[in-house]
Protein backbone atom coordinates (compact mmCIF):
# COMPACT_ATOMS: atom_id res chain seq x y z
CA UNK A 1 0.00 0.00 0.00
CA UNK A 2 1.82 3.10 -1.13
CA UNK A 3 0.59 6.49 -0.19
CA UNK A 4 1.62 8.89 -2.90
CA UNK A 5 1.97 12.15 -1.03
CA UNK A 6 4.00 11.26 2.01
CA UNK A 7 5.51 14.62 2.91
CA UNK A 8 2.52 16.01 4.81
CA UNK A 9 0.22 13.15 5.69
CA UNK A 10 -3.00 15.04 6.20
CA UNK A 11 -6.33 13.29 6.50
CA UNK A 12 -7.14 10.89 3.67
CA UNK A 13 -10.28 12.87 2.93
CA UNK A 14 -10.86 16.48 3.83
CA UNK A 15 -14.20 18.12 3.08
CA UNK A 16 -15.06 21.72 3.82
CA UNK A 17 -18.19 23.74 3.17
CA UNK A 18 -19.55 21.55 0.39
CA UNK A 19 -22.66 22.99 -1.26
CA UNK A 20 -24.70 21.37 -3.98
CA UNK A 21 -28.16 22.09 -5.35
CA UNK A 22 -30.14 20.40 -8.08
CA UNK A 23 -32.17 23.25 -9.53
CA UNK A 24 -34.03 24.58 -6.49
CA UNK A 25 -33.43 21.58 -4.28
CA UNK A 26 -30.56 22.21 -1.87
CA UNK A 27 -29.03 18.81 -1.24
CA UNK A 28 -25.82 19.78 0.52
CA UNK A 29 -25.80 22.93 2.60
CA UNK A 30 -22.28 23.10 3.98
CA UNK A 31 -20.83 19.66 4.59
CA UNK A 32 -17.58 19.40 6.58
CA UNK A 33 -15.71 16.30 7.70
CA UNK A 34 -12.30 14.68 7.75
CA UNK A 35 -11.45 11.02 7.39
CA UNK A 36 -8.24 9.77 9.00
CA UNK A 37 -5.94 7.54 6.96
CA UNK A 38 -6.61 3.85 7.30
CA UNK A 39 -9.93 4.32 9.06
CA UNK A 40 -13.46 3.34 8.18
CA UNK A 41 -15.79 6.31 8.09
CA UNK A 42 -19.53 5.80 7.78
CA UNK A 43 -21.78 8.46 6.35
CA UNK A 44 -25.19 7.68 7.72
CA UNK A 45 -28.40 9.14 6.40
CA UNK A 46 -31.85 8.34 5.17
CA UNK A 47 -32.77 8.07 1.50
CA UNK A 48 -32.25 11.34 -0.30
CA UNK A 49 -30.04 12.79 2.43
CA UNK A 50 -27.30 13.46 -0.13
CA UNK A 51 -24.88 10.65 0.72
CA UNK A 52 -24.45 9.65 -2.91
CA UNK A 53 -24.00 13.29 -3.88
CA UNK A 54 -21.09 13.59 -1.45
CA UNK A 55 -19.51 10.40 -2.78
CA UNK A 56 -19.96 11.47 -6.40
CA UNK A 57 -18.39 14.85 -5.73
CA UNK A 58 -15.41 13.26 -3.96
CA UNK A 59 -14.92 10.77 -6.79
CA UNK A 60 -14.94 13.63 -9.37
CA UNK A 61 -18.17 12.54 -11.05
CA UNK A 62 -20.00 15.66 -9.99
CA UNK A 63 -19.01 19.27 -9.43
CA UNK A 64 -19.86 20.95 -6.15
CA UNK A 65 -21.40 24.42 -6.29
CA UNK A 66 -19.05 25.63 -3.56
CA UNK A 67 -16.65 24.35 -0.97
CA UNK A 68 -13.37 22.50 -1.16
CA UNK A 69 -12.36 18.91 -0.78
CA UNK A 70 -9.22 16.88 -1.08
CA UNK A 71 -8.69 13.16 -1.35
CA UNK A 72 -5.28 11.67 -0.60
CA UNK A 73 -4.01 15.28 -0.42
CA UNK A 74 -5.15 16.07 -3.96
CA UNK A 75 -7.67 18.82 -4.54
CA UNK A 76 -10.70 17.24 -6.25
CA UNK A 77 -11.01 20.05 -8.79
CA UNK A 78 -7.42 21.08 -9.51
CA UNK A 79 -6.00 17.55 -9.43
CA UNK A 80 -8.96 15.44 -10.48
CA UNK A 81 -6.77 13.01 -12.41
CA UNK A 82 -4.60 12.37 -9.34
CA UNK A 83 -7.73 11.88 -7.26
CA UNK A 84 -8.97 9.25 -9.71
CA UNK A 85 -5.60 7.54 -9.48
CA UNK A 86 -5.98 7.42 -5.68
CA UNK A 87 -9.55 6.16 -5.35
CA UNK A 88 -11.97 3.58 -6.38
CA UNK A 89 -15.72 3.85 -6.31
CA UNK A 90 -18.23 1.11 -5.70
CA UNK A 91 -21.52 2.69 -6.53
CA UNK A 92 -24.98 1.94 -5.25
CA UNK A 93 -25.71 -0.47 -8.06
CA UNK A 94 -23.14 -3.12 -8.85
CA UNK A 95 -21.02 -1.57 -11.59
CA UNK A 96 -20.20 -4.76 -13.41
CA UNK A 97 -20.42 -5.72 -17.06
CA UNK A 98 -23.21 -8.26 -17.33
CA UNK A 99 -22.17 -9.66 -20.67
CA UNK A 100 -18.55 -10.28 -19.74
CA UNK A 101 -17.47 -13.06 -17.40
CA UNK A 102 -16.33 -12.31 -13.86
CA UNK A 103 -12.71 -12.77 -14.81
CA UNK A 104 -13.06 -10.56 -17.89
CA UNK A 105 -14.52 -7.82 -15.72
CA UNK A 106 -11.48 -7.91 -13.45
CA UNK A 107 -9.05 -8.03 -16.35
CA UNK A 108 -10.84 -5.07 -17.93
CA UNK A 109 -10.40 -2.92 -14.84
CA UNK A 110 -6.77 -4.01 -14.39
CA UNK A 111 -6.06 -2.99 -17.99
CA UNK A 112 -7.78 0.36 -17.55
CA UNK A 113 -5.66 0.96 -14.47
CA UNK A 114 -2.64 0.25 -16.68
CA UNK A 115 -1.31 -2.57 -14.51
CA UNK A 116 1.11 -5.33 -15.43
CA UNK A 117 -0.18 -8.91 -15.61
CA UNK A 118 -3.94 -8.24 -15.45
CA UNK A 119 -4.69 -11.98 -15.64
CA UNK A 120 -2.68 -12.74 -12.49
CA UNK A 121 -4.39 -9.90 -10.61
CA UNK A 122 -7.79 -11.19 -11.74
CA UNK A 123 -7.12 -14.76 -10.64
CA UNK A 124 -5.88 -13.67 -7.22
CA UNK A 125 -9.01 -11.60 -6.60
CA UNK A 126 -11.31 -14.35 -7.86
CA UNK A 127 -9.78 -16.68 -5.30
CA UNK A 128 -9.94 -14.11 -2.52
CA UNK A 129 -13.64 -13.44 -3.10
CA UNK A 130 -14.62 -17.11 -3.61
CA UNK A 131 -15.49 -16.54 -7.25
CA UNK A 132 -13.00 -18.90 -8.87
CA UNK A 133 -15.68 -21.44 -9.77
CA UNK A 134 -17.81 -18.77 -11.42
CA UNK A 135 -14.87 -17.01 -13.09
CA UNK A 136 -15.72 -18.00 -16.63
CA UNK A 137 -19.47 -17.51 -16.31
CA UNK A 138 -21.22 -14.41 -17.56
CA UNK A 139 -22.00 -12.00 -14.74
CA UNK A 140 -25.67 -11.98 -15.79
CA UNK A 141 -25.91 -15.46 -14.23
CA UNK A 142 -24.47 -14.29 -10.86
CA UNK A 143 -26.52 -13.86 -7.70
CA UNK A 144 -26.79 -10.46 -6.06
CA UNK A 145 -24.16 -11.35 -3.48
CA UNK A 146 -21.70 -12.65 -6.07
CA UNK A 147 -22.21 -9.53 -8.14
CA UNK A 148 -21.45 -7.35 -5.13
CA UNK A 149 -18.35 -9.36 -4.30
CA UNK A 150 -17.14 -9.00 -7.88
CA UNK A 151 -17.95 -5.30 -7.74
CA UNK A 152 -15.84 -4.84 -4.62
CA UNK A 153 -13.07 -7.02 -6.05
CA UNK A 154 -12.99 -4.71 -9.09
CA UNK A 155 -12.61 -1.76 -6.75
CA UNK A 156 -9.54 -3.23 -5.08
CA UNK A 157 -7.55 -3.56 -8.28
CA UNK A 158 -4.48 -1.38 -8.17
CA UNK A 159 -4.70 -1.04 -4.36
CA UNK A 160 -6.08 2.50 -4.32
CA UNK A 161 -5.43 4.11 -0.92
CA UNK A 162 -8.99 5.44 -0.64
CA UNK A 163 -12.14 3.46 -1.35
CA UNK A 164 -15.69 4.78 -1.57
CA UNK A 165 -18.47 2.31 -0.95
CA UNK A 166 -21.89 3.74 -1.63
CA UNK A 167 -24.48 1.60 0.17
CA UNK A 168 -22.44 -1.55 -0.34
CA UNK A 169 -25.01 -3.90 1.17
CA UNK A 170 -28.23 -2.47 -0.25
CA UNK A 171 -30.39 -5.31 -1.51
CA UNK A 172 -28.17 -8.12 -0.24
CA UNK A 173 -29.31 -11.14 1.75
CA UNK A 174 -27.88 -11.54 5.28
CA UNK A 175 -25.05 -13.81 4.14
CA UNK A 176 -24.13 -11.37 1.37
CA UNK A 177 -24.03 -8.56 3.91
CA UNK A 178 -21.69 -10.47 6.18
CA UNK A 179 -19.41 -11.21 3.23
CA UNK A 180 -19.23 -7.54 2.35
CA UNK A 181 -18.60 -6.53 5.96
CA UNK A 182 -15.78 -9.02 6.15
CA UNK A 183 -14.21 -7.62 2.97
CA UNK A 184 -14.44 -4.05 4.28
CA UNK A 185 -12.82 -5.00 7.58
CA UNK A 186 -9.97 -6.73 5.78
CA UNK A 187 -9.40 -3.66 3.65
CA UNK A 188 -9.12 -1.29 6.56
CA UNK A 189 -6.86 -3.82 8.26
CA UNK A 190 -4.45 -3.34 5.37
CA UNK A 191 -4.37 0.43 5.75
CA UNK A 192 -6.92 1.39 3.11
CA UNK A 193 -9.16 4.32 3.99
CA UNK A 194 -12.82 3.45 3.51
CA UNK A 195 -15.67 5.93 3.23
CA UNK A 196 -18.93 4.08 3.22
CA UNK A 197 -22.46 5.35 3.08
CA UNK A 198 -25.30 3.41 4.55
CA UNK A 199 -28.81 3.77 5.84
CA UNK A 200 -28.44 0.70 8.07
CA UNK A 201 -27.53 1.75 11.58
CA UNK A 202 -26.13 -1.65 12.52
CA UNK A 203 -23.82 -1.55 9.52
CA UNK A 204 -22.27 1.70 10.69
CA UNK A 205 -22.08 0.30 14.21
CA UNK A 206 -20.35 -2.89 13.05
CA UNK A 207 -17.82 -1.37 10.72
CA UNK A 208 -17.06 2.24 11.30
CA UNK A 209 -14.35 3.88 13.39
CA UNK A 210 -16.23 7.14 13.04
CA UNK A 211 -19.81 7.80 12.12
CA UNK A 212 -21.26 11.00 10.71
CA UNK A 213 -24.95 11.58 10.27
CA UNK A 214 -25.93 13.57 7.20
CA UNK A 215 -29.28 15.21 7.64
CA UNK A 216 -30.88 18.26 6.06
CA UNK A 217 -27.80 18.87 3.95
CA UNK A 218 -25.41 19.08 6.89
CA UNK A 219 -23.41 16.77 9.11
CA UNK A 220 -25.35 16.97 12.35
CA UNK A 221 -23.17 14.60 14.40
CA UNK A 222 -19.71 13.20 13.83
CA UNK A 223 -17.84 10.96 16.24
CA UNK A 224 -16.98 7.47 17.36
CA UNK A 225 -19.79 5.14 18.33
CA UNK A 226 -18.98 5.70 22.01
CA UNK A 227 -19.11 9.48 21.56
CA UNK A 228 -22.42 9.27 19.76
CA UNK A 229 -23.87 7.09 22.50
CA UNK A 230 -22.85 9.62 25.15
CA UNK A 231 -25.01 12.22 23.46
CA UNK A 232 -28.08 10.16 24.20
CA UNK A 233 -29.97 10.14 27.51
CA UNK A 234 -28.40 7.90 30.19
CA UNK A 235 -28.76 4.17 29.83
CA UNK A 236 -31.68 2.43 31.50
CA UNK A 237 -31.06 -1.08 32.78
CA UNK A 238 -33.79 -3.54 31.92
CA UNK A 239 -33.92 -7.31 32.00
CA UNK A 240 -34.92 -8.70 28.65
CA UNK A 241 -35.07 -12.32 27.62
CA UNK A 242 -32.52 -12.68 24.81
CA UNK A 243 -34.44 -14.13 21.92
CA UNK A 244 -32.56 -15.16 18.81
CA UNK A 245 -33.15 -12.63 16.07
CA UNK A 246 -34.58 -13.77 12.78
CA UNK A 247 -31.13 -13.21 11.31
CA UNK A 248 -29.64 -15.67 13.85
CA UNK A 249 -32.29 -18.23 12.95
CA UNK A 250 -31.85 -17.72 9.23
CA UNK A 251 -28.10 -18.09 9.36
CA UNK A 252 -28.25 -21.09 11.69
CA UNK A 253 -30.66 -22.90 9.39
CA UNK A 254 -28.95 -22.13 6.09
CA UNK A 255 -25.42 -22.49 7.38
CA UNK A 256 -22.76 -20.11 6.18
CA UNK A 257 -20.99 -22.37 3.66
CA UNK A 258 -17.75 -21.85 5.53
CA UNK A 259 -17.24 -18.64 3.59
CA UNK A 260 -17.15 -16.53 6.70
CA UNK A 261 -14.82 -17.42 9.48
CA UNK A 262 -16.24 -15.05 12.07
CA UNK A 263 -19.82 -15.20 10.93
CA UNK A 264 -20.92 -18.17 12.98
CA UNK A 265 -22.77 -17.94 16.26
CA UNK A 266 -20.27 -15.49 17.72
CA UNK A 267 -21.10 -12.28 15.98
CA UNK A 268 -20.87 -10.14 19.06
CA UNK A 269 -19.59 -7.38 16.80
CA UNK A 270 -16.50 -6.25 18.70
CA UNK A 271 -14.87 -3.38 16.87
CA UNK A 272 -11.74 -4.09 14.91
CA UNK A 273 -8.45 -3.29 16.49
Amino acid sequence: MQTTASQVPGPAIHVQGLLKSYKKLEVLRGVDFDVARGSIFALLGSNGAGKTTVVNILSTLLKADAGTASVNDFDIVAHAADVRQSISLTGQFAAVDEILSGRENLVLVARLRHLQAPGVIADALLARFSLTDAAARRVSTYSGGMRRRLDIAMSLIGNPPVIFLDEPTAGLDPQGRLDVWQAVKELAGQGTTVLLTTQYLDEAEQLADRIAILHGGRIIVNGTLAELKQKLPPVKVEYVEKQPTLEDVFLAMVGDDGKNDDAGDDRSGGTRN
Binding site: T60, R84, S88, G91, L112
Partner: protein
Protein backbone atom coordinates in the same frame (compact mmCIF):
# COMPACT_ATOMS: atom_id res chain seq x y z
CA UNK B 1 -4.10 11.37 -18.74
CA UNK B 2 -4.41 11.79 -22.48
CA UNK B 3 -1.28 9.67 -22.87
CA UNK B 4 -3.50 6.66 -22.22
CA UNK B 5 -6.12 7.68 -24.78
CA UNK B 6 -5.22 5.13 -27.45
CA UNK B 7 -4.62 2.25 -25.03
CA UNK B 8 -7.79 2.90 -23.03
CA UNK B 9 -9.87 3.27 -26.18
CA UNK B 10 -8.50 -0.04 -27.46
CA UNK B 11 -9.33 -1.83 -24.18
CA UNK B 12 -12.86 -0.42 -24.12
CA UNK B 13 -13.33 -1.15 -27.83
CA UNK B 14 -12.38 -4.76 -27.10
CA UNK B 15 -15.05 -4.82 -24.42
CA UNK B 16 -17.84 -3.57 -26.70
CA UNK B 17 -16.79 -5.80 -29.58
CA UNK B 18 -17.05 -8.74 -27.21
CA UNK B 19 -20.60 -7.62 -26.46
CA UNK B 20 -21.42 -7.73 -30.16
CA UNK B 21 -19.73 -11.08 -30.65
CA UNK B 22 -21.81 -12.48 -27.77
CA UNK B 23 -25.10 -11.06 -28.97
CA UNK B 24 -24.87 -11.21 -32.77
CA UNK B 25 -28.65 -10.69 -32.80
CA UNK B 26 -27.92 -6.95 -32.95
CA UNK B 27 -26.30 -7.48 -36.35
CA UNK B 28 -29.16 -9.75 -37.45
CA UNK B 29 -31.90 -7.34 -36.40
CA UNK B 30 -29.99 -4.48 -37.98
CA UNK B 31 -29.83 -6.23 -41.35
CA UNK B 32 -33.29 -7.83 -41.35
CA UNK B 33 -35.16 -4.68 -42.31
CA UNK B 34 -32.83 -3.55 -45.11
CA UNK B 35 -32.71 -7.07 -46.54
CA UNK B 36 -36.52 -7.32 -46.40
CA UNK B 37 -36.80 -3.98 -48.17
CA UNK B 38 -34.31 -5.17 -50.76
CA UNK B 39 -36.34 -8.33 -51.40
CA UNK B 40 -39.65 -6.49 -51.36
CA UNK B 41 -38.61 -3.75 -53.74
CA UNK B 42 -36.68 -5.94 -56.15
CA UNK B 43 -39.12 -8.85 -56.38
CA UNK B 44 -42.48 -7.19 -55.63
CA UNK B 45 -42.46 -3.52 -56.60
CA UNK B 46 -39.37 -3.48 -58.78
CA UNK B 47 -41.03 -4.74 -61.94
CA UNK B 48 -43.29 -1.69 -62.02
CA UNK B 49 -40.57 0.86 -61.25
CA UNK B 50 -38.76 2.55 -64.10
CA UNK B 51 -35.40 3.33 -62.59
CA UNK B 52 -33.46 3.75 -65.79
CA UNK B 53 -30.94 1.10 -64.67
CA UNK B 54 -30.99 -2.21 -66.46
CA UNK B 55 -31.21 -3.99 -63.10
CA UNK B 56 -33.26 -2.57 -60.26
CA UNK B 57 -31.10 -4.12 -57.52
CA UNK B 58 -28.17 -2.12 -58.94
CA UNK B 59 -30.25 1.01 -58.62
CA UNK B 60 -31.60 0.23 -55.17
CA UNK B 61 -28.48 -0.84 -53.27
CA UNK B 62 -27.10 2.54 -52.12
CA UNK B 63 -30.39 3.54 -50.47
CA UNK B 64 -30.59 0.16 -48.75
CA UNK B 65 -27.05 0.59 -47.45
CA UNK B 66 -27.93 3.95 -45.91
CA UNK B 67 -31.04 2.45 -44.32
CA UNK B 68 -28.80 -0.29 -42.89
CA UNK B 69 -26.59 2.35 -41.27
CA UNK B 70 -29.57 4.32 -39.97
CA UNK B 71 -30.99 1.24 -38.30
CA UNK B 72 -27.57 0.12 -37.07
CA UNK B 73 -26.82 3.32 -35.17
CA UNK B 74 -29.93 2.90 -33.02
CA UNK B 75 -27.95 0.11 -31.33
CA UNK B 76 -25.06 2.51 -30.86
CA UNK B 77 -27.36 4.80 -28.92
CA UNK B 78 -28.81 1.85 -27.06
CA UNK B 79 -25.44 0.44 -25.98
CA UNK B 80 -24.32 3.84 -24.76
CA UNK B 81 -27.63 4.30 -22.93
CA UNK B 82 -27.19 0.96 -21.16
CA UNK B 83 -23.71 1.94 -20.01
CA UNK B 84 -25.00 5.27 -18.74
CA UNK B 85 -27.81 3.60 -16.80
CA UNK B 86 -25.74 0.86 -15.25
CA UNK B 87 -23.05 1.83 -12.79
CA UNK B 88 -20.28 0.80 -15.18
CA UNK B 89 -20.17 4.25 -16.77
CA UNK B 90 -19.52 5.88 -13.41
CA UNK B 91 -16.95 3.26 -12.59
CA UNK B 92 -15.04 4.10 -15.77
CA UNK B 93 -15.34 7.82 -15.14
CA UNK B 94 -13.98 7.49 -11.60
CA UNK B 95 -10.93 5.60 -12.84
CA UNK B 96 -7.63 7.05 -14.02
CA UNK B 97 -8.44 6.68 -17.72
CA UNK B 98 -8.66 9.11 -20.59
CA UNK B 99 -12.29 10.07 -20.14
CA UNK B 100 -13.08 10.64 -23.80
CA UNK B 101 -12.02 7.09 -24.62
CA UNK B 102 -15.31 5.80 -23.17
CA UNK B 103 -17.16 7.66 -25.91
CA UNK B 104 -14.68 6.89 -28.68
CA UNK B 105 -14.86 3.17 -27.91
CA UNK B 106 -18.62 3.32 -28.54
CA UNK B 107 -18.11 5.26 -31.76
CA UNK B 108 -15.56 2.80 -33.12
CA UNK B 109 -17.74 -0.15 -32.07
CA UNK B 110 -20.58 1.42 -34.01
CA UNK B 111 -18.32 1.69 -37.05
CA UNK B 112 -17.23 -1.96 -36.85
CA UNK B 113 -20.80 -3.24 -36.26
CA UNK B 114 -22.14 -1.18 -39.15
CA UNK B 115 -19.41 -2.33 -41.52
CA UNK B 116 -20.28 -5.94 -40.72
CA UNK B 117 -23.97 -5.25 -41.34
CA UNK B 118 -23.16 -3.48 -44.61
CA UNK B 119 -21.09 -6.44 -45.73
CA UNK B 120 -23.99 -8.80 -44.99
CA UNK B 121 -26.40 -6.64 -47.01
CA UNK B 122 -23.97 -6.38 -49.95
CA UNK B 123 -23.55 -10.17 -49.95
CA UNK B 124 -27.32 -10.61 -50.11
CA UNK B 125 -27.47 -8.09 -52.97
CA UNK B 126 -24.77 -10.06 -54.81
CA UNK B 127 -26.87 -13.21 -54.40
CA UNK B 128 -29.80 -11.28 -55.87
CA UNK B 129 -27.82 -10.40 -58.94
CA UNK B 130 -26.12 -7.14 -58.02
CA UNK B 131 -23.08 -6.65 -60.23
CA UNK B 132 -20.56 -3.85 -60.62
CA UNK B 133 -17.76 -3.54 -63.12
CA UNK B 134 -16.03 -0.86 -61.04
CA UNK B 135 -12.44 -1.41 -59.92
CA UNK B 136 -10.78 -1.12 -56.56
CA UNK B 137 -10.48 2.68 -56.44
CA UNK B 138 -14.17 3.48 -56.94
CA UNK B 139 -15.07 0.83 -54.37
CA UNK B 140 -12.60 2.30 -51.90
CA UNK B 141 -14.28 5.63 -52.49
CA UNK B 142 -17.68 4.00 -51.83
CA UNK B 143 -16.30 2.49 -48.60
CA UNK B 144 -14.92 5.89 -47.62
CA UNK B 145 -18.27 7.59 -48.11
CA UNK B 146 -20.08 4.86 -46.17
CA UNK B 147 -17.60 5.14 -43.29
CA UNK B 148 -17.98 8.91 -43.20
CA UNK B 149 -21.78 8.60 -43.29
CA UNK B 150 -21.68 6.01 -40.48
CA UNK B 151 -19.49 8.25 -38.33
CA UNK B 152 -21.75 11.23 -38.93
CA UNK B 153 -24.86 9.26 -37.94
CA UNK B 154 -23.02 7.64 -35.03
CA UNK B 155 -22.22 11.01 -33.49
CA UNK B 156 -25.88 11.92 -33.88
CA UNK B 157 -26.74 8.65 -32.10
CA UNK B 158 -24.39 9.51 -29.24
CA UNK B 159 -26.62 12.46 -28.29
CA UNK B 160 -29.75 10.42 -27.43
CA UNK B 161 -27.47 7.74 -26.00
CA UNK B 162 -26.21 10.27 -23.46
CA UNK B 163 -29.47 12.08 -22.79
CA UNK B 164 -32.33 9.58 -23.17
CA UNK B 165 -34.47 8.87 -20.13
CA UNK B 166 -35.89 5.54 -21.30
CA UNK B 167 -34.93 2.66 -23.53
CA UNK B 168 -37.83 3.44 -25.87
CA UNK B 169 -36.80 7.05 -26.30
CA UNK B 170 -33.25 6.14 -27.11
CA UNK B 171 -34.01 4.40 -30.39
CA UNK B 172 -36.92 6.59 -31.48
CA UNK B 173 -34.52 9.16 -32.96
CA UNK B 174 -33.45 6.72 -35.65
CA UNK B 175 -36.90 6.37 -37.24
CA UNK B 176 -36.74 9.65 -39.18
CA UNK B 177 -33.23 8.76 -40.29
CA UNK B 178 -34.45 5.39 -41.55
CA UNK B 179 -37.33 7.12 -43.31
CA UNK B 180 -35.23 9.81 -44.98
CA UNK B 181 -34.05 7.60 -47.90
CA UNK B 182 -37.71 7.04 -48.90
CA UNK B 183 -37.95 10.70 -49.88
CA UNK B 184 -34.78 10.67 -51.94
CA UNK B 185 -33.44 9.07 -55.08
CA UNK B 186 -33.04 5.77 -53.22
CA UNK B 187 -36.04 3.88 -54.61
CA UNK B 188 -37.14 5.91 -57.63
CA UNK B 189 -35.66 8.76 -59.64
CA UNK B 190 -36.83 12.05 -58.15
CA UNK B 191 -38.20 13.50 -61.41
CA UNK B 192 -41.59 11.79 -61.07
CA UNK B 193 -42.24 13.44 -57.68
CA UNK B 194 -44.51 16.50 -57.35
CA UNK B 195 -42.79 19.92 -57.03
CA UNK B 196 -42.17 20.50 -53.31
CA UNK B 197 -41.44 16.83 -52.58
CA UNK B 198 -39.04 16.72 -55.45
CA UNK B 199 -37.33 19.89 -54.27
CA UNK B 200 -36.82 18.34 -50.84
CA UNK B 201 -35.68 15.02 -52.30
CA UNK B 202 -33.24 16.66 -54.70
CA UNK B 203 -31.48 18.75 -52.12
CA UNK B 204 -31.45 16.55 -49.03
CA UNK B 205 -28.09 15.00 -48.11
CA UNK B 206 -29.20 11.39 -48.53
CA UNK B 207 -29.82 11.92 -52.26
CA UNK B 208 -26.33 13.32 -52.77
CA UNK B 209 -24.76 10.42 -50.89
CA UNK B 210 -26.85 7.83 -52.76
CA UNK B 211 -26.13 9.35 -56.17
CA UNK B 212 -22.40 9.55 -55.44
CA UNK B 213 -22.24 5.89 -54.39
CA UNK B 214 -24.33 4.79 -57.38
CA UNK B 215 -22.24 6.80 -59.84
CA UNK B 216 -19.03 5.37 -58.38
CA UNK B 217 -19.91 1.70 -58.74
CA UNK B 218 -21.68 2.08 -62.06
CA UNK B 219 -18.58 3.87 -63.38
CA UNK B 220 -20.35 7.07 -64.30
CA UNK B 221 -18.75 10.49 -63.82
CA UNK B 222 -19.51 11.64 -60.29
CA UNK B 223 -19.53 15.37 -60.99
CA UNK B 224 -19.75 17.94 -58.19
CA UNK B 225 -22.42 15.90 -56.42
CA UNK B 226 -19.84 13.80 -54.61
CA UNK B 227 -18.27 16.89 -53.05
CA UNK B 228 -21.67 18.05 -51.83
CA UNK B 229 -22.22 14.55 -50.42
CA UNK B 230 -18.88 14.65 -48.61
CA UNK B 231 -19.53 18.16 -47.36
CA UNK B 232 -22.87 17.05 -45.88
CA UNK B 233 -21.26 14.07 -44.15
CA UNK B 234 -18.37 16.06 -42.74
CA UNK B 235 -20.66 18.91 -41.71
CA UNK B 236 -23.08 16.62 -39.86
CA UNK B 237 -20.13 14.80 -38.32
CA UNK B 238 -18.57 17.98 -36.96
CA UNK B 239 -21.79 19.53 -35.65
CA UNK B 240 -23.01 16.30 -34.03
CA UNK B 241 -19.57 15.68 -32.55
CA UNK B 242 -19.43 19.15 -31.00
CA UNK B 243 -22.92 18.76 -29.53
CA UNK B 244 -22.09 15.32 -28.18
CA UNK B 245 -18.89 16.62 -26.57
CA UNK B 246 -20.70 19.45 -24.82
CA UNK B 247 -23.34 17.06 -23.49
CA UNK B 248 -20.71 14.52 -22.47
CA UNK B 249 -18.66 17.09 -20.58
CA UNK B 250 -21.76 18.22 -18.77
CA UNK B 251 -22.64 14.64 -17.83
CA UNK B 252 -19.25 13.77 -16.39
CA UNK B 253 -18.34 17.07 -14.70
CA UNK B 254 -15.17 17.37 -16.75
Amino acid sequence: MTKHFLGDTAVLLGRSLRHIARSPDTIITTTIMPISLLLLFVYVFGGAIKSGSHSYVDYLLPGILLITIASGISYTAFRLFLDMKSGIFERFQSMPIARSSVLWAHVLTSLVANLISLLVVVLVALLMGFRSGAGVLPWLAVAGILILFTLALTWIAVIPGLTAKSADGVSAFSYPLIFLPFISSAFVPTDTMPGPVRAFADYQPVTYVINAIRDLYTQRPVGTGIWIALAWCVGILIVAHLFARVIYRRRIAW
